[in-house]
Amino acid sequence: MQRRSDRSDVLPNSNRKAIRERLLPGLKNRILQVLARIAPGATTTRVRLNRWRGVNIGKNVWIGYDAIIETSCPHLVTIRDRAAIGVRVTIIAHYREQQGVVIEEDATLGPGVIVLPDVTIGRGAIVAAGSVVTRSVPPKTMVQGNPAQPIATVDIPLGFGVSLKEFAKGLRPLR
């Protein structure tokens, strides 16, 4: 029977290196992610925890409860200033050769939205609740559905301090 001190024979040096370089950072990422999903603080704690994971996040960003922002490669996600990520949004930023998701300034993702890889949500765009975004969304455009389709142009982005009625006033239906 092997003694504990003999483990160097069981685990080759290359495996130990892999654990140090991949497993531990991965573990740290997952722990921070779990905390980021459940912690209170949509503009503070959740934002900070996701930054620590490696997500590129601008100023005054809002992240809702239980949002999943790319599980294993958070550095592939960029969320720019004043963007809002709704409750239970899922952002998947890599699948095979498709990589990266960018949420531009003042964009808003409604609750339960799913964003797939290789997608940019344009400045001031709105994604309606429950939509699945498979292609990039032009700036100042409202999209809805699965796959998300443009339904309106947006004059007044749904930022902090903008009422629903003010926002609605700036919508122009697309036909």
């Binding site: 009625k165 003010e166 609605a168 006033k169 919508l171 239906p173």
Partner: protein, 96 residues
């Protein structure tokens, strides 16, 4: 221009009647008396429509009366209030 797509008569009463007919289902379910809806009745705050419904309402009005709405001069608070909205739409449609 297609003659069948000419603008319909747009009066505050016709817009009000159209909106009440369109939303009669949910309003009746909420036990509202359609003959006695006040001028400041708010479709959004009363729960008849949701946030997405505002866009649908604007589209429906444009389709029904064959107009293009410019809501720039309308007070944001009035966008879902039946009386002010109906008057604004009639005024802006007839001033063209």
């Amino acid at each position: 221009m297609d003659s069948t797509r000419q603008m319909k008569d747009v009066t505050p009463d016709s817009v009000r009647k159209f909106l009440l007919t369109r939303y009669s289902g949910p309003m009746t379910a909420m036990q509202l008396d359609l003959a006695d809806i006040p001028d400041d009745f708010d479709f959004l705050l009363s729960g008849v429509i949701d946030s997405f419904g505002i866009l649908e309402m604007i589209s429906a009005i444009e389709d029904e009366f064959r107009i293009r709405l410019d809501l720039a001069l309308l007070d944001a608070e009035d966008i879902t209030r039946i009386g002010p909205l109906a008057r604004y739409i009639a005024e802006s449609a007839n001033s063209r």
